[in-house]
């Protein structure tokens, strides 16, 4: 931060001096002085827009944050797997079902790998998907409303880490388990892990029109750990690649016992072949229990459905669909270049990068050059599939992205750097430090057939002295680099929210014009909407009191309510009547023990309140909506439980 301020101030000084001191020099030279400065490259003038959106996972926040590039400004935090008091997500009655699981209501998670939907291998900007790592789930977020629309739980999975990556026409979003577990879950000794636990790789189909997700099949793989994955693309479209570690199938002290084998595997899955098998009735339906939660934009309401079975496929049932590619030393990142030819496996304990060739893999398969098998899955020879390796580029390689110009960029955790290298020649072209201990990196479209290779940003695990200290807990740091030249140039250092693991980024023009401004009232199908004053009412149903309320600058209708009693359960169903961009209203009720609400224009949201104390209790709008925002308030009279005061409601009486 200090450094950036320093740079920025220098940039401003240059500007000031150039304009005042050296004013007699020509205009072009002034432009030249600014043209190559980092400050100018990240400066987005007030009122101007960034050129790219970046969607960063929130890690332990369970959410997704939206940033602009190159400015590094955060625009929004989109709640996904976690309750979000800011707008009532996961607290309001309409959104609570989004967080239902087979374990009940789980209002937090660990979100890792956002991936934007694709058409023909290129980012189409319709949805972004993200995985919940801990209680295995995949979410779909709309890139028109920037809201979470759907969450599907993944059964037979645990530590949903090699997820959520998209095939090149968004046919599937794929979720691989990190932990192998008993399938189905049962009471058994942990010591019997080997040979008995399974690793489920889940292929979730995505409806092309609405994006709705449905588990098409799960491949039940041997009990390894499945770390990361990426789809084949171009020539390798139809395949999916997963890194594995712990091919030793150890169940304790993995840092020792899972590092015994010199090589683990990249598992190559021919999903088209398995899809065909399944379409012809192949696989087995097994009993399962998992939640499918869908938010309906018309009713503004989410529903949660428990699904009771899932189709599983044993690899041995489909010969020729699964192969294992030996890859050194517990490979972590599994990245496929834009052409689909190269599959990069980054052995996190290896100093070298291993790159496999898709063509050579097919050739080895065709010629049946196998080196044994694991549980019936053919193992290919390392030398037969190896395209090349980048020798000693750094320490602790993790992840690779591509610029579409034949170059690859790999992060190195231990040596804290990004290394640029050339596909095909495997030579190191450049290296730049990161601050500090980098995990993932992102190039907009860097994992698609068409990367937009202007920027790259590195997301670090450790911040230390990069910003003003804020106690022992610091936000993580990220650095933005210009990769348009031969050498990478660091432009900006910016804090990120939560623990970003990975990010997806996209040129702004692909999505910004589609961003929704309001929800149309005439399309609101919420069963308890109140879109006119005539619709407002208060209805008692036993102990439940439903208040059909609406709000517009600058009052609630109704704003005086009597006849509520201690022991009642009060539901405020509130419709925001505004049809004006960026005029949400808030709603806060004194003593409400869950949250407050933020209601977007045209939306209906419900807050539940259980009054405990006799009295007259106020509510008010929490979002500074208008010049008369402070007038936007009301009262609920709460009478004793045995009171016989009738329900009444009014505005302006």
């Amino acid at each position: 931060m200090m450094k950036n301020k320093f740079k920025l101030s220098i940039g401003l000084m240059v500007a000031a001096l150039a304009f005042t001191g050296c004013n007699n020099s020509s205009q072009t030279s002034n432009k030249g002085a600014l043209g190559s400065s980092a400050a100018e490259k990240v400066f987005v003038a007030p009122g101007e827009h960034d050129s790219h959106y970046a969607f960063l996972s929130g890690g332990y926040s369970g959410n997704l944050t939206v940033y602009g590039l190159p400015s590094g400004r955060m625009f929004k935090e989109i709640p996904v797997f976690s309750q979000f008091p800011t707008n009532g997500y996961g607290y309001s009655e309409e959104t609570k079902p989004m967080l239902e699981t087979s374990f009940g209501f789980v209002p937090w998670d660990d979100s890792h790998h956002p991936d934007i939907s694709q058409t023909n291998g290129e980012l189409d900007g319709r949805w972004v998907f993200i995985n919940g790592n801990n209680t295995p789930r995949i979410a779909r977020i709309s890139l028109t409303s920037f809201e979470t629309e759907e969450i599907i739980e993944v059964p037979n999975s645990a530590g949903n880490h090699s997820s959520s990556f998209i095939t090149e026409n968004t046919e599937y979003v794929v979720a691989g388990t990190r932990f192998s577990v008993p399938v189905p879950q049962r009471d058994m000794s942990i010591k019997d892990y080997k040979g008995n636990f399974k690793g489920a790789l889940t292929f979730i189909s995505v409806d092309p029109e609405h994006g709705h997700m449905d588990i098409k099949f799960q491949v039940l793989m041997p009990g390894f750990n499945y770390d990361l994955s990426h789809p084949g693309r171009g020539k390798s479209h139809g395949w999916f690649f997963f890194t594995t570690y712990n091919t030793e199938e150890a169940n304790s002290l993995l840092e020792v016992n899972a590092s015994q084998n010199d090589k683990d595997f990249i598992a190559a899955i021919n999903w088209k072949k398995i899809e065909e098998y399944v379409n012809n009735g192949g696989g087995t339906m097994m009993p399962a229990n998992y939640a499918h939660n869908l938010h309906d934009e018309a009713t503004h309401t989410a529903t949660s459905t428990m699904k009771k079975e899932v189709r599983v496929v044993n690899p041995s049932e489909v010969p020729g669909a699964v192969y294992l590619l030996p890859t050194p030393k517990s490979p972590h990142g599994c990245d496929v270049d834009p052409s689909g030819e190269y599959i990069v496996g980054n052995g996190k304990l290896s100093a070298n990068l291993t790159v496999h060739s898709f063509t050579k893999m097919l050739d080895a398969i065709e010629n049946k050059k196998f080196d044994g098998d694991a549980y019936g899955i053919p193992i290919l020879n390392f030398e037969d599939v190896l395209a090349g390796s980048v020798q000693q580029p750094g320490l602790g390689p993790l992840h690779t992205e591509f610029d579409g110009q034949g170059n690859a960029y790999t992060t190195f955790f231990i040596s804290s750097e990004v290394v640029k290298w050339k596909l095909g020649t495997w030579e190191v072209l450049d290296r730049k430090p990161t601050y500090y201990s980098v995990g993932h990196l992102t190039i907009p479209g860097g994992n698609s057939r068409k990367p937009f290779g202007k920027y790259m940003f590195a997301m670090n695990k450790i911040t230390k002295d990069r910003y003003l200290p804020t106690g022992p807990e610091m936000e993580h740091s990220a650095q933005l680099y210009d990769i348009s030249g031969d050498k990478m140039e660091i432009l900006l250092d910016f804090p990120t929210h939560g623990e970003p693991h990975y990010a997806a980024a996209i040129p702004a023009e692909i999505i910004k014009s589609k961003s929704k401004k309001i929800y149309r009232l005439d399309e609101n199908e919420h069963p308890r909407k109140a879109i006119s004053e005539a619709d407002t009412k208060v209805v008692r149903d036993g102990k439940n009191v439903h208040i059909y309320m609406n709000m517009i600058r600058s009052h609630f209708t109704p704003d005086n309510i009597e006849g509520v009693k201690v022991g009642d359960k009060v539901f405020f169903h509130i419709t925001n009547l505004e049809q004006d961009f960026d005029v949400p209203h808030g709603f806060a009720m004194i003593g409400a023990r869950n949250a407050e609400l933020l209601v977007s224009p045209g939306q209906t949201r419900t807050l539940t309140w259980e009054p405990q104390q006799v009295g007259v209790w106020p509510f008010y709008c929490t979002d500074f909506c208008s010049a008369l925002h402070q007038e936007m308030q009301g009262y609920v009279r709460v009478s004793p439980a045995d009171s016989d005061i009738e329900l009444s409601w009014s505005l302006g009486e």
Partner: protein, 191 residues
Amino acid sequence: MKPIKKLMLSAFCLSLFLGCKNENAEGASVEADKPAATETTERTGQAFIEDDGSTPNVLQIAIGSPDHTTLVAAVQAAQLENALVNAGPLMVFAPTNEAFAALPEGTVEDLLKPENKDALANILKYHVTPGNYSKDFLKKFKKLGQANNGYVQVEVVDGEPIVGGAKILASIPAGNGIVHVIDKVLLPPTE
């Protein structure tokens, strides 16, 4: 960092002045974007953060030890400081000055020459394991995978772990791992 910044700032101001005086806008632009756009990579990074509050990391332990001046000089010559202060965990086998002195005469001097930086780095990285294991725990291993991509053998002799032929003389827990002081320099097997 502060003195560096001051230096950069004054150099920068100077360049601006010169730029203006000579009416040489091209020159000014070249000078001006240097401090703004580039970072020096040799003496920045985690190794150079001031932090008195945390448990010393493996590098700080080595720097603080009078028995490891040769090792520290070697780490500095190979510019490996930042690799040793990472979150790790890192297990560093730290040969004493005596161990370095036992190498054939001229070996250390040779390795410290700038042209042998890579060879030196390879040897030093052979002394680093991603992991954090106590002396006793090391007996569970047959080999350790080292940061230079090689393996070092572990044997148990008289109930003690012997790592690449070296005995562990002392073990010091660090903020980001552990330092095992050893009595021999580990030399990576030649390919």
